[in-house]
């Protein structure tokens, strides 16, 4: 049984990842940290709480609230958030991440301890190493590693959904989670733990389609149906704003990290690479894969591809119980 801590900005694909992780028999979710990112911290925290409550696991998994803003970048006026033009369909706004998951309001509350201090406390006292699954901006873990670098000794692996080599989303060269807090990402990427990147190259290769959603619905469980709802919403947003090569399809990034922990072969073409982050200017938030021959000291693994059929099969297995 592998122990994991999830760090999420729930978020449509985050919600699918949370459900997959909590249903996986081989994973023990020790805690969930929320972070700002897809939505503000109040919404990502509330969405996370209501989701685990809807799954009947509200009293099993503690939720820790993370930071409301990146470590440093918003201190610079030229690095403030991008203005996002809403997508429109039939006169209505369409969002990749609706502000509120369509579930009952949470009655459970998050813990008092802020997420970065939870990481420190947990990891300093952990009796065995834990895997961190980071699928939002890396702000909380960046702070924790800055304050107590020695916590790295109890990290088995850090799985990051973020970055991209030949695929980008929020700027011409950056993926959102990493663009959102490049300084935190650099601290995490170079902390010394085993780091596995699940970038857009992998998640776009592992797109899910309307047909896949039909498969989920046929399963009939709450999680399968809710995942289908969320993914159909993403398919609409993709079609309007980020059309993939395959029509009626969406990248569902975050659960690919969970499926990798269940079956590592869902990621393909995983290479040791040296990654650093772009901080300023047009290259802000780019995951720079060092391509100089003979000069690199790998600091992480980077998945350049993924098996979309295996991804869908693993999700179906998880949603069937």
């Amino acid at each position: 049984m592998r122990k994991i801590i999830l760090d999420v900005d729930t978020g449509s694909d985050d919600a699918v990842a949370v459900m997959a992780a909590l249903l996986a028999k081989d994973l023990k979710v020790e805690a969930i940290c929320s972070t700002w990112g897809n939505l503000d911290i109040d919404h990502t925290t509330e969405n996370t709480l209501r989701l685990i409550e809807a799954m009947g696991k509200g009293d099993e998994v503690p939720v820790y609230r993370g930071c409301a803003a990146p470590m440093a970048k918003f201190l610079c006026k030229d690095r403030l958030p991008l203005a996002i033009r809403p997508l429109m369909k039939d006169g209505k706004e369409v969002h990749m991440h609706e502000p509120e998951l369509k579930l009952e309001k949470a009655t459970i509350k998050e813990q008092d301890l802020p997420a970065p201090l939870f990481y420190i406390d947990y990891l300093l006292h952990a009796e065995e190493p834990v895997t961190l699954v980071e699928v939002g901006p890396l702000t909380s873990l960046g702070h924790a590693l800055r304050i107590r670098p020695e916590i790295v000794k109890n990290i088995e692996e850090i799985v990051i959904m973020g970055g991209g080599d030949r695929v980008a989303n929020c700027t011409p060269c950056a993926e959102f989670n990493i663009w959102a807090d490049p300084e935190a990402a650099e601290i995490v990427a170079t902390c010394g733990a085993k780091v596995t990147w699940v970038p857009l190259d992998a998640t776009h290769a592992a797109y899910l389609t309307k047909k896949d959603c039909e498969r989920f619905r046929a399963i009939g469980t709450f999680e399968a149906n809710f995942a289908a709802d969320l993914i159909e919403g993403r398919i609409l947003a993709h079609t309007l704003g980020q059309p993939l090569a395959e029509p009626d399809a969406a990248a569902v990034h975050d659960p690919l990290c969970i499926c990798y922990l269940i079956d590592p072969t869902v990621l393909k073409d995983v290479q040791p690479v040296e990654i650093h982050l772009g901080f300023y200017g047009v290259g802000e938030g780019e995951t720079i894969v060092d391509r100089r021959e003979g000069l690199i000291t790998p600091n992480s693994y980077f998945a350049f591809d993924a098996d979309r059929f295996k991804f869908c099969d693993i999700l179906c297995d998880l949603f069937t119980y």
Binding site: R146, I147, E183
Partner: protein
């Protein structure tokens, strides 16, 4: 009633004088001391602080070890601008001189006292959240610990009476052409602290230079006859020795920066000129770490007070009074 304070130090010669002054002053209730990297690495600033607190017979004051490097500046490929002043300073006999010795004179012997099990950032968040009365913070090193704590839990700003920062400068700089060392070491943390919403009083180089101590002042301090006064006088003399060699010319005094921050909390009248100001910190480029005061005819809304002058005589008298108290 004594003012409740938390010190945040990178001990450090002038930090040591500040800590000793605070612990000897009956008007201050030192709730805790946080340590941080800066003058020396955090292992040494912590060890120096522990030894000093113990030596002063105040082992009950908890010491929390803080951060070992800046929040983000050293991540940048060219973040650490060459300050261009790395040449060694030596005395007539070729001995290397330092402004902050790794182990401060008078603190050569190890002590039993250890730092607390939680780190300084966790301490700030948990302690301040639990307070019903506000606390005054006196950070006199890089502002990393507070920058982290305020990022993680911005709500703690409501529990801060005021933040008295030793750092920055208007017409005086030290580590770069326009920056003072504490702020230059972690400009992002300083900007976070400056903008956190709690009242901020800056004790910059302008103020600390105006009340620098000379050798005669050190003799006066030592003449009070206590261990603490002798210890402080020795550190001040070592600073004068270093600065007279490094700055050259006829410089024969030294600013005991951090102690002025502590004295300002004890009795603010030690500051003789304090301006209302709008301050931001330069985060990168040639002026990295500069405390930029809005100088336009109509400046942006004041967000702090900035001391530009202090009374040398009052400062010296306060040091003699508190450090000269029998233990």
């Amino acid at each position: 009633m004594a003012t409740r304070v938390i010190l945040d130090v990178d001990t450090g010669s002038d930090d040591a004088v500040a800590v000793a002054t605070a612990l000897r002053c009956p008007d201050l209730d030192v709730l805790a001391i946080c340590t941080v990297w800066g003058n020396l690495d955090v292992e040494d600033t912590t060890e120096n602080t522990l030894r000093l607190v113990d030596k002063l017979g105040r082992a009950e004051v908890p010491v929390y070890k803080g951060c070992g490097t800046a929040m983000v500046k050293y991540l940048y490929p060219r973040g650490a601008v060459d300050t261009g002043r790395s040449s060694k300073v030596v005395d007539e006999n070729g001995n290397e001189l330092h402004i902050h010795y790794k182990r401060l004179s008078g603190l050569e012997n190890p002590v039993e006292k250890k730092e607390e099990p939680i780190d300084a950032v966790t301490f700030y968040v948990q302690f301040l959240r639990a307070q019903t009365e506000k606390v005054t913070l006196i950070p006199v090193g890089p502002l990393t610990n507070l920058g982290e704590a305020l990022s993680i839990a911005p709500d703690i700003a409501d529990k801060i009476e005021k933040i008295v920062i030793m750092g920055g400068g208007d017409k005086v700089a030290n580590i770069s052409p326009s920056a003072e060392a504490n702020i230059w070491h972690d400009p992002e943390a300083a900007e976070i602290v400056q903008q956190c919403g709690a009242p901020v009083l800056w004790i910059p180089l302008d103020a600390t230079l105006s009340c620098a101590l000379n050798r005669k002042d050190c003799a006066e301090l030592r003449a009070t006859g206590t261990w603490a006064a002798d210890f402080a006088a020795t550190l001040c003399e070592e600073r004068i020795e270093f600065e007279s060699k490094s700055v050259g010319g006829d410089k024969d005094n030294s600013s005991i920066h951090d102690a002025l921050a502590v004295c300002s909390v004890i009795d603010e009248s030690v500051l003789t000129e304090v301006e209302d100001a709008h301050v931001h910190i330069a985060l990168n480029g040639y002026n990295e770490g500069e405390t930029i005061i809005d100088r336009r005819c109509i400046p942006d809304k004041f967000n702090c007070r900035f001391a530009v002058k202090a009374s040398h005589d009052k400062f010296l008298a306060m040091l003699c009074e508190y450090l000269g108290r029998s233990e």
